[in-house]
Amino acid sequence: MIRILKPGFYASVQDTGRFGYLSDGVGRCGAMDALALKIGNAAIGNPDTAAAVEFTFGGFEVEATRDIEICIGGSPIQAKIDGKPIHRWWAQTLPKGQRLSVGPCASGMRSYLCVAGGIDVPTVLGSKSTDLKGGFGGLSGRLLKAGDVLDVGAAYKGREMRPKGLSPREFPDLFRDFTVCPTLRFIPAREWEDLNTANQRKFLDEEWAISPDSNRVGYRLNGVQICPKVHKEMLSHGILPGTIQLPPSGQPVVQMRDANTAGGYPKLGKVIEADMSVLAQVPIGKSIRFTPCSIDEAKIALRTQNAQSDRVRNIMNGVRNIA
């Protein structure tokens, strides 16, 4: 079991999300940085979809009640086990009774503590993700607090291993700097055409700062005001994580993993799935840009990203065989 000593700012159990219940008003939820979750799981031999703990802004501390293989993925962090520094994206043992402590993180947003066997909470509607708005899933449907104890599923094997991990040379994506205004690709939506050329240009040329008023539900962006040619009052319709909406304020909102299942604002487009992991890590106050892309490009990007977890499995298995 894993005992939470300090949960940090905002910690919850998340897997790859809850699918198939949008019509019932149940959103996807799941890890904000799905790539980090999948890579962290792959590194310790879990299925990509195993549940982990998502921490926000670092600053957390946990201990293990037995030897547990772990991998911390996601934002750049300073982590230690009983005072001894450890690496991000490394699989290693958190020995029984020892403390994993992680310092505050300013250059990324979210860290994932993946454990061999996965965090074992009840599966609700097909997923272990916490639905914070609905108050179910995860651990009692709520954020983690100090003193919480999380069960860990059975790992595929229990032997102790030497720490082994991923290098920036092989996986530059996993070590990118989220503070340097990443360009996110989006697929234009119907109401993109409701912007005149000047406003489309503004949207593409502007750097958009992530507002402090952003969370797992949505990111508000601050920048120049974008005005459609006509003001449309639309009926609420189905929306998905990644949808870029334009409220009357003229400041776009990007729907994130805890997005409501319906919304009524005009849609400029949808951030492609492969780039949602980057957006999940851009620190509050830092900026992003947008560039349009085709559906084919989006699919290739996702395929390339998904292939990374297979590469991680191969590398980790290869190294293990030598050991």
Binding site: L22, L235, H237, T261, L302
Partner: protein
């Protein structure tokens, strides 16, 4: 706006498509959305992971590697195959009668809502209690229904000030619709009634009490009667199949 502009098929990024039947809420468009959703679920096309319906639209979510163009062709063929606004509602729909306290301190905005509709509180309670409304869609929270459509004098605006929280089971009203709250949440709609139902029971066989197409009558009860239902997850609700 001419009839021929509807329905419209639009993309939802790489995730799929949305088919919109109207830009206004009306009964035929909602019926079309429900019927098309049911037809796509039955068709079982490759690559379709989820089909959903909203007030006047149906959305399809595809797997990341589905053949987008093939599905688009299939949608076009199916959508053009008939007049969806003339389709019947799905079978097996339920009529629920849910005990509801109107007004009192349990639902403090009833007086304001009645006034906005041009009625006294007893008149408003009698009307709302007699109204039989349909679940138009579920949204925002697990199993949370939008119900409509109430008579035109209930076309009352949302509040300019958000109510920080109404409890689960709250019946709120605006723009000729009810929303019955599945969990405690903020709202800009007027809190006119209170029920004791738990709409979402994750571990029950039927996790969501109400489904799109079901109908509900919110029958007025006294506070004393309401107190009897407070420990019943169904809040004293009764149902029958609509013939």
């Amino acid at each position: 706006m001419t009839q021929s502009q509807w329905p419209r098929i639009q993309t939802l990024g790489t995730d799929g498509f949305v088919i919109r039947f109207s830009d206004q809420l009306n009964e035929p468009a909602n019926r079309a959305a429900l019927a098309l959703r049911a037809a796509i679920e039955v068709a079982g096309w490759d690559g379709v992971e989820e089909v959903t319906s909203a007030l006047a639209s149906t959305a399809i979510r595809l797997s990341a590697f589905a053949d987008f163009e093939q599905v688009e062709d299939q949608i076009k063929t199916l959508v053009l195959s008939r007049d969806w606004t003339a389709e019947p509602l799905p079978d097996g729909r339920r009529l629920y009668r849910i005990p509801t306290v109107y007004g009192t301190e349990l639902a403090p905005q009833m007086a304001q809502a009645a006034k906005a509709a041009g009625l006294t509180v007893p008149e408003a309670a009698a009307e709302l209690s007699a109204a039989r409304t349909r679940v138009i869609t579920l949204g925002f929270a697990p199993g949370q229904p939008y119900l409509g459509t109430l008579d035109p004098h209930w076309d009352i605006p949302r509040l300019s000030q958000i109510t920080p929280q109404v409890p689960a089971g709250a019946l709120v009203l605006a723009i000729r619709q009810f929303v019955l709250f599945a969990v405690a949440n903020p709202t800009g709609w007027m809190h006119v009634g209170q029920t004791a139902v738990q709409l979402f029971q994750p571990n029950a066989d039927r996790a969501f009490m109400l489904l799109p197409g079901d109908e509900v009558q919110f029958n007025a009860v006294t506070e004393a009667e309401f107190a009897r239902y407070e420990n019943d997850p169904n809040g004293g609700a009764e149902w029958e199949i609509i013939p």
